[in-house]
């Protein structure tokens, strides 16, 4: 009945997005892929090397160690920040003037630039002049995060928990606020204990936001760079050299573009894979 008039002008409307995506994602990624399969000795001369760099990275114990440190770091901070964030969100007032005060206080760490967070904790933890470092040493605890790997890790984790638990709190709080009063009233009438209320009402209703919180915290912590580089610089030794720090050392310190590119891609695939696993596991029994 209606005759279609061919009109290709629509492509013009898509063009800006195509250009944007091309410049901020596809072209840089292609450059990295390009580097990852070639060797260069400078002067813009490249030789094709196939998957040599990938093999090298996958077999290097240096990469394995950095990956293990990274997994350990992410595992620890998730295990602390998610339960702690939920606990704080549960403890926060649900209504009244304290709500906004609490929210602002909680959100504060999120507003501080990452390198400032690193610098703050660096100063705070310095054993001779920092408030935290001096106090710990005055209490008889031998604490020096620039020399002791354990102290460096503890400081790093404390910093991340301080900086990012707020994100989990805010998301969990949003999830809690979305639960209608009728649920609590029904639970009261059904004689449910507060444990049961948490288990059967609050946790299920928070599940979606918690999925987002875990994913965000996983990805961000897995790619963390700024704060640890300012705090410990990856040291002492290589004790806190996480994947991103190692990558920067390879790429910019040693200027090994090929291995660094291969490492970036492997890194990227690990993040993608783990995010996918997290997401699939956490949403697997969701009702459609």
């Amino acid at each position: 009945m209606s005759t279609k008039i061919p009109n290709q002008k629509g492509w013009l409307l898509v063009l800006p997005v195509v250009v944007l995506v091309a410049f901020n994602a596809i072209i840089p990624l292609m450059t990295v892929i390009n580097y990852s399969v070639q060797e260069t000795f400078g002067e813009n001369v490249f030789f094709f090397e196939g998957v040599k760099w990938f093999e090298a990275v996958l077999h290097s114990s240096r990469f394995h160690l950095a990956l293990q440190r990274q997994l350990l770091f992410t595992g620890i901070i998730l295990a602390i920040e998610v339960p702690l964030g939920v606990a704080i969100a549960l403890a926060m007032p649900r209504r009244g003037p304290w709500v906004s005060i609490c929210l602002v206080l909680v959100a504060m760490p999120l507003l501080i630039p990452w390198n400032v967070v690193g610098a703050m904790w660096n100063l705070l933890a310095l054993p001779d002049i920092g408030l935290l470092g001096r106090t710990l040493n005055a209490m008889g605890i031998n604490y020096n995060y620039t020399r002791q790997p354990f102290a460096a890790w503890a400081t790093l984790i404390a910093m991340d928990v301080w900086h990012w638990t707020s994100l989990v709190v805010l998301l969990a709080y949003a999830g809690l606020s979305a639960i209608p009063d009728a649920y609590y009233q029904a639970a009261k009438i059904d004689g449910a204990s507060s444990g049961a209320v948490f288990r059967y009402i609050q946790l299920p209703k928070m599940k979606r936001v918690l999925t987002i919180a875990v994913l965000l915290r996983f990805m961000d912590s897995f790619m963390i760079y700024t704060e640890p580089i300012v705090l410990t610089g990856g040291g002492p030794g290589n004790a806190t050299t996480l994947l991103s720090i190692d990558l920067v050392k390879v790429a910019l310190g040693q200027f090994d573009l090929g291995p660094a590119a291969a490492m970036s891609l492997i890194y990227f695939l690990i993040v993608l894979l783990l995010s996918w696993i997290f997401y699939t596991v956490m949403t697997k029994d969701e009702v459609q």
Binding site: A186, K188, I189, D190, K205
Partner: protein, 359 residues
């Protein structure tokens, strides 16, 4: 099961009530017999949900006492009162199966699994939930979920009362009717005291034996559906219940005779003298107005067809008097008169009915 009585009850959501408007519930006394089906009817914001939450114990009244039978429960929390409540939006525990949802209130009370199972299956059968027992509750439709909410109230055999807070709001119209008849059926079978809050007169009048009409935090009238229809104690009840609502016409009262537009009108009972200076009105439902050969002269302004009958708007000067005319009955011509059936005609002073004087 118990008789529920409220005595000298008042409630305000403020720290301290300064004037009359601060009271969400003005002083009221109400009694609901054990095993009765009751409705609380009123427009949004009239205080009916507040009253319901006071009965269930979610709210503690500012003043007055709540008794279940002889027991004073005013200070008791909801779980100690042994009542069930069905909310406007269905509340189900998403992660549990339908079975576990129904078993939840029993398990919380430490009842042995054998009795839990028997009771859950019995209630599921009553509510036609049997085929879905093993499904996740979250996957059910709104009416299915509302049945679960109701079921969680019914499983407790010793429940004192079941309270409904506009339970059909989110249910599709064609299912509303089914769920409503289900409720009625359940009440006849179990004889649990039920209190049903709604702003929908059809729901209230079809469900309840006793209807309490509320407005602005006050109980305006409590009575059977027939009483509310035939003898509204307040003009508010007159036009809130009935479709179309009652005609309320300005009136005068002199020498024992009530007049509307100068025409003498007989009322159901000869009224005693109303308080001086009060605003007087005559109330009569459209069902009880007739065209006649004498009475108030009117001109027919409009007629609309509802199927069973026509609603005719007859105009006298600037006032409209509505009346119902059966389908197929001819309308009079230009010059017509209307008269009221004295049995169902009442005099109101400042909105409240004027009771009969001594005979």
């Amino acid at each position: 099961m118990a008789r529920i009585s409220l005595t000298d009850l008042r409630h305000t959501y403020r720290e301290r009530a300064r004037d009359d408007a601060d009271w969400a519930l003005k002083r009221l006394d109400l009694n609901w017999e054990a095993g009765s089906a009751n409705a609380l009817l009123g427009p949004s914001g009239c205080g009916k949900t507040t009253l319901l939450n006071i009965i269930s114990g979610l709210l503690r009244p500012t003043e007055g006492t709540v008794r279940f039978g002889e027991r004073d429960v005013t200070a008791l929390p909801p779980d100690a009162r042994n009542i069930a409540q069905v909310f406007q939006f269905p509340v189900v525990y998403d992660t549990m199966s339908v079975y576990d949802n129904l078993a939840f209130p029993l398990r919380n009370r430490g009842i042995p699994q054998v009795s839990v199972d028997a009771r859950v299956r019995e209630i599921a059968a009553m509510l036609d939930l049997e085929p879905t027992l093993d499904q996740r509750a979250a996957g059910l439709t709104a009416d299915g979920k509302q049945k679960i909410s109701l079921g969680r109230g019914l499983v407790r055999a010793d429940v004192n009362a079941i309270l409904f807070d506009e339970p059909l709001t989110v249910i599709d119209p064609h299912l509303k009717w089914r769920l409503r008849s289900k409720l009625k059926e359940l009440h006849q079978r179990l004889h649990t005291t039920m209190i049903y809050v709604t702003h929908d007169q059809t729901e209230a009048l079809t469900f309840a034996d006793q209807v309490v009409v509320m407005n602005e935090g006050m109980v305006v009238q409590a009575g059977t559906p027939v009483e509310l229809f035939e003898r509204p104690r307040h003009t508010f009840v007159g036009y809130f219940i009935g479709s179309p609502g009652m005609n309320v016409l300005p009136a005068t009262f002199e020498g024992g005779v009530a007049r509307v537009f100068g025409h003498a009108v007989q009322t159901a009972v000869p009224p005693k003298a109303p308080p001086p200076g009060a605003r007087l009105e005559i109330g009569v439902r459209p069902e009880f107005v007739r065209f006649s050969t004498a009475g108030i002269p009117v001109r027919i302004a409009r007629s609309s067809d509802t199927g069973r009958h026509r609603i005719v708007e007859a105009q006298h000067e600037n006032a409209i008097i509505k009346l119902l005319v059966n389908e197929g009955e001819p309308l009079p011509g230009e010059r017509a008169f209307v008269s009221f059936d004295p049995k169902y005609t009442q005099l109101y002073a400042d909105g409240w009915i004027v009771e009969g004087g001594r005979p």
